[in-house]
């Protein structure tokens, strides 16, 4: 059996190589021909073929808003603690992005130094940034850099220009926003709620 029998696009390997690493394929990505790969997966015929093909090896192509990623079929999602930690940190990061004057959203371009500058000028932002738990980052700028690195590794950002150190926010960022949107906050209706929070605070 080869690719022709399945009638798969010839980029199938590239797609697999990116997504099996746990990365997202975003429509506005530029590295590794990403936007082209996105278009290929987005083509309905290709999508069905790729889905069928990857399902054989128990990968499932998940479609988001202008991005794709893999999940595993029939596998219990594990590592709950690590995941909670990761996403708690992402709440911190998104909160920081959301509190900036020039909000960073999909398609935004920015340089870590800009964020560090703004945080330096604004005490509220500075505190937010300082409280984000990252290892071994002493200066504000290094901390922002670490955050950018982290998000690039998770393929939410792309280092567009190494010389000027400018990043671009990819469509995969929607994934984080969707996640936040999915969380529902229980409204404090009863007295027990405020009691319980009181206990935790003490």
């Amino acid at each position: 059996m080869n690719e022709i029998d399945y009638n798969l696009p010839k980029q199938t390997h590239d797609i697999f190589a990116i997504m099996a690493r746990g990365h997202f394929i975003s429509s506005n990505g530029t590295k590794d021909n990403m936007s082209r790969l996105y278009d290929i997966i987005n083509n309905p015929e290709n999508f069905d073929r790729l889905q069928a093909f990857f399902n054989v090896i128990r990968y499932n192509v998940e479609r988001g808003n202008n991005y794709f990623y893999f999940s595993r079929l029939n596998e219990a999602n594990s590592l709950i603690e690590q995941k909670l930690e990761t996403f708690e940190r992402y709440i911190d990061v998104i909160d920081l992005f959301a509190s900036m004057d020039n909000k960073i959203t999909i398609g935004s371009r920015f340089r870590p130094s800009e964020i560090a500058e703004e945080c330096n000028a604004n005490v509220r932002l500075k505190q937010k940034l300082q409280k984000i738990p990252m290892y071994r980052s002493e200066t504000l700028l290094n901390k922002v850099r670490d955050i950018c690195n982290l998000m690039t590794r998770d393929s939410f950002l792309e280092l567009e220009d190494e010389q000027t150190e400018s990043y671009k926010v990819l469509d995969a960022y929607t994934y984080l926003l969707d996640m936040i949107n999915a969380i529902s906050i229980y409204e404090e209706t009863t007295g027990t709620d405020s009691n319980s929070s009181g206990i935790i605070l003490n």
Partner: protein
């Protein structure tokens, strides 16, 4: 205008300086006079000539092309800002000429009518294509979200204007149908027909654009809403109640992407057959190179030393002494290991101990008793005469016995 100009002048000037024109068109709004004059393909005279023809403007030493020239290029390339306003002018002109024609059926008015009908047709299509491009571009590349929303709202207005013009044009065509039939002009019939088809197509296209714009605005709105929510979540998190007052845990538990479940990409072993190929050989070499740096390889090299002990008997006898020798060395603190060994008076029973043997012993001790020795990582030098009575100098590492304190710590 400074000089009397004609088409020929303008065209030849543009052509002569086509490199400059292209450069200015590509870099609108940020080229200074000095930057421009530093280019090889334009002299100060040529620049003055262009300026005198009003083909370029200079403002606060920033050079820009004449807007009319820029607009012409943009029109041909179907890029630039959406400017539906002049379609209105065309429509008014069209109406005017139709009025003239209704009064006197003269051919010259009919020709103008055809001209404006054609122009409206082309302009509508072009503006719509530009609108589409701009909407897309704004959504994808405008960094500031507030400007983004404003721009998109503006485009929505422009879209409404264009729809208005399409309706107006349709009205005119239906109103003057009788008139056009009377002219019995085949060309006019063709123009009107293609215009009608295009109007319908363009209307469809605009509706599509409208969905895009709405979609984009909704998406941005969604992002803003989510940001507000993120800030609230952060507040809740700072109060330490994230796990209790929200369903954060459940949502995260359901996250199924590979990365956040720590599922690594599949790793395969190298096929043995591959290692026998040329590429495989290169790979092996690389691996070998890499491992040379590690401690493992250092030990491997040191392993060759025992071959220095040519005389097996002496070797064995010396070996018996080594432990005592080291003990004695450790209990003194005047000499370093090298000096100690060189000067040490071995019992006669051992036989003649050569300089080389002492060196081997030095290496052996450093290797086997490294935990009891204090390596200073400094070089001392030892001068001696070799077998051919030539002066030689040998560098060796300064090694002292570990002091008691350090021993305890180990």
């Amino acid at each position: 205008m400074a000089l009397q100009v004609n088409v020929n002048d303008i065209l030849s000037q543009l052509y002569q300086n086509r490199g400059v024109v292209e450069f200015l068109f590509a870099n609108r709004e940020n080229i200074t006079v000095n930057e421009l004059l530093s280019r090889e393909d334009i002299s100060a005279d040529q620049y003055q000539k262009l300026k005198s023809l009003d083909l370029v403007y200079e403002y606060e030493s920033v050079v820009s092309l004449n807007d009319a020239v820029v607009a012409m290029f943009e029109d041909f390339m179907e890029i630039g800002e959406v400017t539906p306003g002049f379609i209105n002018d065309y429509i008014n002109e069209l109406k005017r000429h139709i009025r003239f024609y209704q009064e006197v059926h003269e051919h010259r008015f009919l020709r103008s009518i055809k001209k404006y009908l054609k122009r409206i047709n082309v302009a509508l299509t072009r503006e719509i294509i530009k609108l589409q491009k701009n909407v897309d571009d704004t959504y994808k590349n405008e960094a500031n979200y507030r400007i983004k929303i404003h721009k998109l709202e503006d485009y929505r207005e422009k879209r409404d204007t264009i729809i208005d013009f399409i309706r107006k044009t349709e009205e005119i065509i239906t109103d003057t149908r009788q008139l056009f039939v009377h002219t019995n002009d085949q060309e006019l019939y063709g123009i009107v027909n293609s215009l009608k088809i295009n109007l319908i197509e363009n209307l469809d296209f605009l509706i599509e654009i409208q969905t895009d714009i709405t979609d984009y605005i909704n998406k941005i709105q969604f992002q803003l809403d989510v940001y507000v929510k993120a800030q609230r979540l952060k507040e809740i998190k700072d109060h330490g109640t994230l796990h209790y007052r929200t369903n954060f845990n459940e949502v995260i538990k359901d996250i199924n992407s590979l990365r956040f479940n720590n599922i690594k990409g599949p790793r395969t072993k190298i096929a043995i057959d591959f290692l026998f190929t040329d590429e495989g050989h290169v790979l092996c070499k690389k691996v070998a190179e890499k491992y040379k740096l590690s401690r493992l390889m250092m030990r491997g090299i040191a392993g060759k030393l025992p071959s220095n002990f040519k005389d097996q008997i002496i070797d064995n006898q010396i070996k018996l002494d080594v432990e005592k020798l080291v003990d004695r060395f450790l209990n003194q603190n005047k000499l370093n290991l090298f000096e100690y060994l060189i000067d040490y008076k071995f019992p006669k029973a051992v036989g003649n101990i050569t300089f080389e043997d002492r060196l081997s012993l030095f290496v052996e001790i450093t290797m086997e008793y490294q935990n009891n020795l204090d390596f200073k990582y400094r070089l001392n030098y030892h001068d001696y005469l070799d077998n051919e009575k030539v002066k030689k100098r040998l560098g060796y590492t300064l090694i002292l016995p570990l002091t008691k304190k350090e021993k305890v710590m180990k």
